[in-house]
Amino acid sequence: MEWKKITTPLSSDVIKTLKCGDLCLITGKLLTARDKAHERIAQMSAAGEILPFELKGELIYYVGPTPAKPGEIIGAAGPTTSSRMDPFSSMMLELGIKGMIGKGKRDRHTKELIQKYCAVYFSSFGGAGAYLSKRIKSSKIIAFDDLASEAVHELFVEDFPVVVAIDMYGEDIYEHAVQQYR
């Protein structure tokens, strides 16, 4: 299959070319956040506090890696289930993120927001944590270090493989997948 090479930050022009089912190799910066980090961003925003990092233009990767062995960059680092972050989609897109990487379905609201904000949702390969760790070239915790594996990490990735799961036109790979057989 053909892989499309893209780099972050993702521009709206690039996002417009991405179609549901496309295979992409991402190079550039990602920020990690999963359940607890999203909850904390929401709490800080509600309290009017300034976040210790900028979300505008960022691509968020839903991951809680295993600890790095001595001398390694990171441990296993595959995507976690995205639907748990659905309640935060509106907040995160409002804060300026351009896309999300995780695995599995999103709710209808998130899908509508992806269209509204000209964003994209990628699925990576769930359970391929060892494989994906090899595509991560650097990792450092930039906020919420008390959350351990749930802290916000800044990652630089090279040819990180993902599938366009929901494109900015609202097409959803998980709906297409099952329909092909019905």
Partner: protein, 246 residues
């Protein structure tokens, strides 16, 4: 498995999962960042006398040591609502059966959160048809779609009480690929369910394909005349478990 996939993305996904196993093995990296809850099944021979440390403390010390030593992710919170991480991946979830004899069988299963979250229980009428049960299973697996990381292994507990059915669904996952229920009736049912699940089209990681499940295991139990519980416990493609007999 790969030869059964006609869709290129399904085949590519299986290639990546196979490559993942190779890398994990060669470089001693966990297969998945979710190193799971540790589920322990103990079968304790009734002629054994255990001396010294409390057995469950010993199990938990071993879990804490392994998760630290092998750089595994600690995914357990001490309290479900206040959610403070214990930092050791303990406690393990331990189930003990007393059995005849003088051996101790220890089954260890590492169960990821994504697949565990797709568990289901339905209390059927005793007069409901097997077809209706199969429909429920198909509905549950289809609704779960990509979330439990297919191709899945499906544990099914049928009969018993609600709690027993749920536990049996998980115990059923102690079976290995290729294993079947010894009762031909349930063996045939396992095969029928596997076929139905693979016909849903969910495919590897839910991207579409013929491989939605790699194994279906049923553990049945006696039930009340009014009850027919059916419990489902899903496991991702990372089927991580081991057994020691002492």
């Amino acid at each position: 498995m790969r030869s059964r996939e006609t869709l290129p993305l399904a085949a590519e996904t299986l290639n990546i999962l196979i490559e993942n196993i190779k890398i994990a093995e060669e470089e001693k990296i966990p297969l998945c960042q979710d190193c799971g809850s540790v589920i322990i099944f103990l079968e304790l021979g009734q002629e054994i006398e255990i001396t010294g440390e409390y057995l469950y403390d010993a199990v938990n010390s071993a879990v804490a040591e392994a998760y630290s030593k092998f750089y595994l992710r600690k995914s357990i919170v001490a309290d479900p609502l206040r959610r403070k991480n214990t930092g050791t991946n303990t406690p393990a979830f331990i189930h003990t059966d007393i059995v005849p004899g003088k051996t101790l069988t220890i089954d260890v299963m590492l169960k990821g959160g994504g697949s565990e979250n797709m568990s289901a229980l339905r209390m059927f009428r005793p007069t409901d048809s097997v077809e209706k049960i199969i429909d429920f299973i198909e509905e549950t697996v289809t609704a779960a779609g990509p979330n439990p990381c297919p191709p899945i292994f499906l544990g099914i507990g049928i009969g018993g009480t609600a709690d027993a059915a749920m536990l049996n669904a998980k115990k059923a996952l102690l079976k290995n690929p290729g294993d079947h229920n010894p009762d031909p009736f349930y063996r045939d049912l396992e095969i029928r369910i596997l076929e139905r699940v693979n016909n849903t089209g969910i495919g590897p990681m839910g991207f579409g394909g013929n491989n939605s499940a790699a194994g279906v295991y049923i553990k049945e139990a006696p039930a009340h005349i009014a009850s027919l519980p059916v419990a489902l416990n899903l496991n991702c493609h990372s089927f991580r478990k081991g057994r020691r007999i002492l």
